[in-house]
Symmetry: C2
Subunit: 497 residues, 2 copies
């Protein structure tokens, strides 16, 4: 038997095993071509990719090393004796191969693949293979099966209320932190809205990252339940309550590969929402030249897929399209976005009007689901709740219930302004570049990093006037972001002021 060793290497979710080339019990090179081995002990088993080690400081000839996540997943103590064996690949890989060759899969076959992915039995390249074969084509029946399988592979929350509302925005628009306004407005009215959100993967901030500037977000499902009972709503991180974990694994490969198909998007979003236990869901599809959805035709096709899955799984879905031609609000990055949100709630004069208006529309649409409210009065009710300070009071209750952040988190101290090269009018802002810029500046890792937009589309600018300000906390990031902005600011200035 080999002695188990925890190797201090973080492989970002993938299971990796380390074996010395001079291993006394096994011939590591024999396993290498298949890339995967099975680590075994009575009652424990783990599939892991193999790396061969030539440095006894990493693993000795009588040791088997596991990367940090793999070690945690196997659940044994260091020095525990383990065996290894050639991997018996998961049976569901056979279905994956069928899909690769263009076959349509049955629901149980998709469920088997998703169960294996959720249990980390797929290597990264097998996950990539699954995503790409689905991107090639996926029937609506397959998409529905994928949605259900992903929802089934994790926790399922349930709420003791006849109507539980939720909202989701197709991402890609910088700023756009509407959930943090919609939740307190809707909760202030009295409709339950237990919102769980994602952290950013490759974007500069997810709602969970921004909310974390104000409050704790890694609540257990029990704690989440308590906050919702007390405040009517919450803003927590979905990753901690294990909703659709297969989706998290898929996204970790999908994003760096840059695959983003309609069917995968719908399955991903709907699986999370089914798991979250809501009954009425509002989907916001921003349309714009640098948004994820670029035309009304695309938005319509996407809407129909959402409606189809919603009907099949018994979740009421409303889809609205919004302006996605430029960022929403001013700040991009957790601290800057949280500032905008609190300004809107406080009805401060510097609150961004577009963020306020869009949030009122979304909250209004959700409020229409309340049978007690007269049809068409949702928007007015939302506006009243915001202007009266009721929404702000609810937000403060939610923050306190989740655990108020005690230290103030401010925008980063390293700042640099990008200026207009000529006088004129802002004609377009490239959402993709602004997101990437805020990310390079350090968001969301550094809560204070990001971009503060000083003018928006349509605004007149003088040559030399600042277009936006980069905030960073770390020298290397500040350098990356400045270089990126200097190459192309992402702003197009045209016409005359």
């Amino acid at each position: 038997m080999l002695k188990l060793k925890r190797v201090g290497i973080d492989t970002y979710g993938a299971n990796v095993a380390f074996l010395a080339r001079t291993c006394e019990l096994y011939r590591p090179e024999e396993f290498q071509a298949f890339k995967t081995i099975n680590v075994l002990d009575e009652g424990h088993s783990l599939l892991a990719s193999l790396m061969i080690v030539d440095d006894p400081a990493i693993v000795a000839p009588d040791e088997l090393g596991l990367s940090e996540q793999a070690f945690a997943r196997l659940g044994l103590e260091a020095e525990h004796p383990v065996r290894i064996a050639p991997a018996q690949p998961p049976h569901s890989l056979e279905y994956l191969r069928k899909k690769i060759l263009g076959h349509t899969l049955e629901a149980p076959q998709i469920a088997a693949i998703i169960a294996d992915i959720a249990s980390h039995r797929y290597a990264e390249m097998e996950i990539a293979a699954f995503l790409v074969s689905c991107a090639g084509f996926l029937t609506t029946a397959e998409m529905l099966a994928l949605t259900r399988a992903m929802a089934d592979a994790g926790n399922r929350l349930s709420w003791r209320a006849p109507i539980v509302v939720d909202k989701h925005c197709i991402g890609g628009i910088p700023g756009n932190r509407t959930s943090m306004l919609v939740v307190p407005i809707v909760a202030a009215h009295g409709l339950p809205i237990p919102k769980s959100s994602s952290r950013a993967i490759t974007s500069p901030a997810g709602t969970a990252d921004t909310m974390e500037v104000l409050a704790r977000v890694d609540l257990s499902s029990h704690e989440m339940q308590k906050v919702v009972d007390q405040c009517g709503g919450c803003l927590v991180w979905g990753g901690h309550v294990n909703l659709s974990p297969a989706d998290d694994v898929l996204i970790s490969v999908e994003r760096p590969l840059g695959i983003d198909t309609r069917e995968q998007m719908v399955a991903s979003i709907m699986s999370k929402k089914i798991s979250a236990g809501s009954t009425h869901l509002l989907i916001d599809i921003p349309i714009g030249p640098s948004a994820k959805v670029r035309s009304h035709g695309d938005a319509m096709r996407l809407r129909k897929l959402f409606e189809y899955v919603g009907r099949e799984v018994g979740l009421h879905v409303d889809v609205i399209t919004t302006d996605g031609s430029q960022p929403i609000g001013r700040g991009i990055g957790p601290a800057l976005e949280a500032r905008d949100v609190m300004n809107v709630l406080a009805c401060a004069p510097e609150a961004p009007a577009d963020l306020r208006e869009k949030s009122l529309q979304l909250a209004g649409a959700l409020l229409e689901n309340d049978p007690a409210l007269q049809g068409g009065s949702g928007y007015a009710r939302a506006k009243q709740l915001l202007e009266s300070g009721a929404a702000l009071a609810t937000m403060n209750r939610i923050i306190d219930a989740q655990g108020r952040q005690t230290a103030a988190i401010c925008p980063g101290n390293l700042t640099h302004e990008i200026t207009a090269p000529r006088s004129g009018r802002v004609e377009a802002i490239d959402c993709y570049r602004i997101n990437r810029l805020a990310r390079l500046a350090g968001a969301p890792m550094d809560k204070g990093a990001g971009v503060d937009l000083l003018c928006k589309v349509g605004d007149p600018v003088e040559a030399g006037a600042p277009l936006y300000r980069i905030h960073a906390c770390f020298d290397s990031d500040f350098g990356f972001a400045r270089a990126f902005a200097q190459e192309d600011s992402g702003y197009r200035i045209g016409g005359t002021a």
Copy 2:
């Protein structure tokens, strides 16, 4: 700047960088979601996947570690100062995304992808994505472009002769070591046959592995040229002369994923053959229920693809189909196969008749390309060269010219016989299981490991009589192989003896 460190981890071709979580200059987590970073120095640059390290014995906070292959590829000394930056993904990934979404690619786009793959600028999951999107569909024009791009990405050999012959067998049949007989027969006749072969990836032996039992195979192209000048033929490892290196990268992902489409197979084989500089190529397609090609219809479609590419690139291609219903010869694994080959060349009574007969047919078909030979007399000429001892003499000249193996390599000492569970007749042998069994026994890493077949399809057997013998050199492998054979021997016994 960070100090470069060589980390003693063999990542099997993939570039991996290691950065301490406590790194003083960069925030490793910021790079992690994109998985890839760019390692830079004046004039040097390398894309690598990032792993974050929590153990200062692996990398210190002021160091950047690179896996062994990545370190070699970057080409700098240890402790050399380097910078890192967010990866600028290869431009060709845009074409990959088009292909994933079902577009057809132009030849220059495919060439850009292949050039990046050959230069190790693609991560494993990006390679998987390319393979899967091609498996979905590939037009014949795309297949041709892929073939040309792969051939262009490596070395190209050239020979001063009007006719240079070559052969290739679609793999999957255990034993079947015909190249080692065809080369000496054809070379003895005087037709140049500079054969380069692969090593096994997931099979128990490639021709290069088996030839290595008898002689050195890792010759440079210059050494290869000398052997061919001297003997009229050679049997070397193609990997060392850098023919179609992109193909090697693709295969390293294709095999563990188990993707094996016609178009990829044709592009892979033809790119190697174009690079090898032959003018006349014979392709052997074995057909059988556990072979790669299962029906005559499939073989015909494959043949047409080979012929199409051959015509377009100016390489004369002949395709023959052969019996692929069971292993060819007796031994499976390098030493056992080499024994069979030398027995056939020596016309020994224990030489396997099927291996001899098939090799004569293939050699005969190749000899038909000699204008000096009367049409239809190739087979008789091959037989004459074998029976006269001329082929054996040529093989010995080739072995000496390449560098004769001085130590005798014998079948492994750990042996176990699998016996017939009942009396009857051998009805079928599962090629896939026999290959996997020989691999588990330690082939090709242990040259002496493998399987020695003691009866073949059609042979009568008594209950308890041995069907085959497992040879292993290492206890753990011996255990894996025995367990696998006991689960299912791969032999079907039926009827009466």
